[in-house]
């Protein structure tokens, strides 16, 4: 018994020793008059986090007296809980936000600093950022956020499979369907979809809604106070998506597959296509070099929406309205988005930057440059549905997409539920 206790103690001490070694993290220690800016981002994994650590070191060097204390929360945690931090004294000065309703929720509650004066004082800074990136962070003509990445959604396909079957990149939905039918005939599943978390299906519906519903109607519907969701286009969008599933164009078991598993199937040539974001292009270059191409969601011939939009959105940072040091916080944001630092970010992380010229043929593979070009050429962006509508509506909408794929619900039933929840929220 005694020996076992001794053993346990040793174990504890050993791990304590570990704690001593690895426990020294990025805590910044400075003199007491230093200004400290709290910075919250959403990329806790080592590689991404390291980039920010080095960027902060450079910023602190250039701005003596200002310290940045950094924190990170993962993707799902961010969606669930960043709202929660806002209520505490721990509220960060600079924090990550998606564009669209997710950001607007903070803006409405008065939690976000209006950045317009800063941007107007420095027009050079403002003009260096793509409008497609800035616009989704605007409310009532004011700027509330600085985009850090700008993302587009594309179908990435296996070139070999396309060539073997004499297929070309489809421009219209009916061409798309015939491509899929041909691939299915060869025994390979045409599209890999990982919908265990329904944001994956939601990205399809994001684009399909935009293409099927008139622009002004959709715009009003996505706003909490005016949402109705009665346009027949919404049902059509769901029907198009359902058709892909009913005809067997997705692999088996979409609702229990993770997105990254779908990617693995693509690399393993078990599926011919995946629907992915621009920021993932780097992985394809690494693992599937030269053997892949991409195209945006094809136009829907009789769709009531603008067919030249692209699905995608910027995400970026906002400054807290309660920040004690707004000038320093904005200075930090400006530092992150200089052309020089953005180029370095692109080089290190491969993320599409909305800063003009940051993504170029010198620091990025051709695919990323071409992808970003497609983004900047698009007539507008269809923002991610789940962060563009009220969270309580997306909480009904998204799980229903899984049920659509399981044939447990019809498009009509889903839209009826969406209408009901939207009515209830309006009444509050």
């Amino acid at each position: 018994m005694r020996r076992k206790i001794a053993l346990l103690l040793c174990l504890v001490m050993l791990t304590g020793l570990f704690a001593g070694c690895t426990g020294t993290d990025t805590k910044t220690q400075g003199s007491s008059d230093d200004i400290t800016i709290k910075f919250l981002h959403k990329w806790p994994n080592q590689k991404d986090n390291d980039y920010f650590v080095s960027a902060i070191a450079k910023f602190e060097e250039a701005n003596p007296g200002v310290k940045v204390s950094m924190d990170s929360a993962g993707d799902e945690a961010m969606k669930d809980k960043i709202r929660v931090v806002m209520g505490t004294t721990e509220q960060p000065d600079v924090f990550f936000s998606w564009s669209g309703e997710f950001a607007k929720n903070f803006i409405r509650e008065g939690n976000v600093l209006d950045l317009t004066p800063y941007l107007e004082a420095d027009p050079e800074w403002r003009d260096s950022i793509m409008m497609a990136g800035l616009e989704p962070f605007m409310e009532d003509g004011k700027y509330y956020g600085i985009p850090y990445r700008i993302n587009g959604k594309f179908f990435v396909y296996n070139k070999k499979i396309f060539e073997e079957n004499n297929l070309s990149e489809p421009k219209t939905w009916s061409e798309f369907l015939s491509v899929l039918e041909t691939i299915k005939g060869t025994g390979v599943a045409p599209i890999g979809l990982g919908n265990i978390y329904p944001w994956a299906a939601c990205h399809y519906i994001t684009g399909l809604n935009q293409k099927c519903v008139p622009e002004d109607v959709r715009h009003d519907d996505y706003i909490r106070e005016t949402g109705e969701y009665t346009d027949p286009g919404y049902i059509k969008a769901l029907e198009h998506f359902k058709e892909l599933n009913d005809k067997g164009y997705f692999q088996e078991g979409v609702n229990s597959t993770e997105h990254n598993m779908a990617l693995e199937m693509f690399y393993g040539e078990k599926v011919a296509m995946v629907y992915v974001e621009l920021e993932e292009f780097g992985d394809f270059d690494e693992k599937f070099e030269g053997e892949w191409g991409f195209f945006p969601m094809p136009a829907i011939e009789d769709g009531a929406g603008n067919q030249n939009f692209l699905t995608g959105a910027p995400d970026g940072f906002m400054v807290s309205s309660r920040s004690a040091n707004p000038d320093e916080a904005v200075a930090f944001l400006k530092f992150l988005t200089t052309l020089e630092n953005s180029s370095e970010m692109v080089q290190t992380l491969g993320w599409p930057s909305p800063v003009e010229g940051a993504v170029n043929s010198e620091n990025s593979p051709a695919s990323l440059v071409a992808g970003l070009e497609a983004v900047s050429k698009a007539e507008g962006m269809a923002l991610w549905l789940d962060t563009d509508i009220d969270i309580r509506i997306s909480d009904v909408y998204l799980p229903a997409l899984q049920e659509l794929l399981n044939n447990d619900k019809t498009p009509e039933q889903i839209m009826k539920e969406v209408q009901e929840i939207s009515e209830r929220i309006k009444a509050e």
Partner: protein, 294 residues
């Protein structure tokens, strides 16, 4: 005895524990009920009195009934497998013949219950995966290809798949509780039964089961209460999906509060969980006392 006569000293010894329990167990539970009567958000200070509105909404919400049904299902299946199989396995391992292997099997069967549910959940997510998972690959290997399916992806099977992983984890736990109970049965009972020519099965039915009746009841109640507390495995494996088919009360609570930011609603669901688990615990205590009186 003067050594233990000073009440103040006694209270001093108890104070820290009491403080912890009162502040962090009892106070939040009382507070929770009041919080369910307001509409309030995680951030922002204002709250609006809504009375019992959230309870009314829950009563009309089909998701609530899905969740309740799933909790029941969880409890019911757990009784059959954990209590039923747990008892049978314990009885087998206590048989004279198998006792020499008991150490090994007890260790192996109990092992999963020391592992965190997150790990078990992530592991089973991979085991259930339609194309690369162990389960479907196994079914294909033994020629039962037509049984393969997307276990966690279909509303029909997802809940059962989650429950199954929980059985995998906890049968050994309940088995252990039975082992101890069976060891307390007087050996003479078995010996005289054997003299009368009773087989192993008959001894199980006529001696083991009646002798551990109390443990069976206790374990059943523990299992049922456990069934109403389920959160981790569902959150990790399906997060309530596909659709809402695997929602349980605790995930329903989490989703309402920490995703939809309707904290009042979440508090109301918490109050309902409280009532259910509290009543079940009272039943447990009542039976406990009855047994003690006998």
């Amino acid at each position: 005895m003067k050594l233990y006569g000073n009440k103040k000293t006694a209270l001093l010894f108890i104070a820290p524990a009491l403080l912890f329990v009162l502040l962090f167990i009892y106070y939040p539970i009382v507070q929770n009920f009041f919080m369910s009567l307001y509409r309030w958000k995680a951030f922002g200070e204002d709250r609006i009195w809504v009375g019992l509105q959230y309870y009314r909404r829950i009563a009309q919400d089909p998701v609530f009934y899905t969740a309740l049904t799933n909790n029941f299902l969880y409890a019911l299946i757990s009784i059959v497998f954990q209590v039923g199989f747990g008892l049978v396995i314990a009885a087998i391992l206590e048989e004279t013949f198998f006792r020499r292997f008991q150490g090994f099997f007890r260790t192996v069967f109990f092992m999963p219950s020391v592992i965190s549910i997150t790990v078990v959940g992530l592991l089973f997510q991979l085991i259930y995966h339609p194309s690369i998972g162990l389960l479907n690959n196994f079914l294909k290997a033994i020629g039962l290809e037509n049984l393969t399916r997307a276990w966690l992806g279909e509303s029909g099977s997802a809940m059962y798949a989650i429950i199954a992983s929980s059985q995998w984890q906890y049968i050994g736990y309940i088995m252990l509780l039975f082992l101890v109970a069976i060891q307390k049965i007087p050996k003479e009972l078995y010996e005289s039964a054997e003299m009368d020519g009773a087989g192993a099965f008959q001894r199980f039915i006529h001696i083991t089961v009646p002798q551990v009746k109390e443990t069976i009841i206790m374990n059943s109640i523990i299992t049922v209460i456990g069934g109403f507390k389920v959160f981790d495995e569902v959150y990790v494996m399906t997060a309530g999906g596909p659709g809402r088919s695997t929602e349980v009360l605790a995930t329903f609570l989490y989703r309402s509060g920490f995703r939809n930011d309707e904290m009042g609603m979440a508090s109301a669901i918490a109050s309902i969980i409280f009532v259910i688990t509290f009543v079940l615990t009272l039943v447990q205590l009542y039976i406990n006392r009855k047994i003690a009186e006998e």
